[in-house]
Symmetry: C2
């Protein structure tokens, strides 16, 4: 029952809630989590090579081929020729892909409001500060495992 374990358990319960929300979104959009992540990355980072996507998602290049295949089939992205490197392709969101990214952003913000909107400014500030202090103790999370 140390309070630290209690805090971790509650954080995990919360992220489970977030996961459920994402699942609901995916069901209505006929989408899967890895494809949503790729589309999110594309929306945040703009058209990218498959190599860059493989790095960003921390997944093998072969895997990106499959995910992009699926997103091409569903009409969310296209493979465009890279302007200077003829080996590479630029994975580019279609209008439908961009619309889905916008919907994701909206859903994300709405969930955040639903989860934390009830906390007054001071409590929310203290909450975020505590998270910052915790995250600061782990240098470059994504590189840590490399």
């Amino acid at each position: 029952m140390p309070a630290a374990t209690d805090a971790l358990d509650k954080v995990l319960a919360l992220s489970l809630l977030v996961g459920r929300d994402l699942e609901r979104f995916e069901r209505t959009e006929r989408m899967t989590t890895p494809r949503v992540h790729l589309l999110w990355q594309l929306g945040a980072g703009g058209p990218s090579t498959q190599r860059d996507l493989a790095h960003a998602l921390d997944v093998s290049p072969r895997n990106i081929t499959g995910l992009v295949d699926g997103l091409v089939a569903s009409g969310h992205v296209t493979r465009e020729p890279h302007p200077t490197d003829r080996r590479a392709t630029l994975v580019t969101p279609t209008a439908a892909g961009a619309a889905l990214f916008a919907a994701l952003q909206h859903s994300h913000a709405a969930l955040a409001e639903r989860l934390f909107g009830h906390l007054d400014e001071q409590r929310l500030g203290a909450f975020v500060t505590a998270l910052d202090d915790t995250l600061d103790r782990f240098p470059t999370p994504l590189e840590q495992s490399a």
Copy 2:
């Protein structure tokens, strides 16, 4: 930049850290996430029928067959006859399975300490209370999607 979105993003970053920690554990133990979850459930709830495990993990009964097959092959569980229902089996941890569960618990507690041990009692208390208030707004998370 609303603070609510900021809070959600940081919670997700934190749960990503936790996920990385679990992955490291799984690599060293030659284990997968679904099997770890099953083993955790078994450790927490004691020997269980596959039907109960399917409910607890929110997964199809067929899927449990596969996960248990894998855990039997790796020597972490056995299928024991149910004392009163000859249709059912009691999935039961072996010594190795129980040891792995203990290691999981230990790793979980150590991670919690590493993440939150630096916060003083008052800040940690406020953090947990904020999480409680947030979680209380979502009645029975697991049933919500049903």
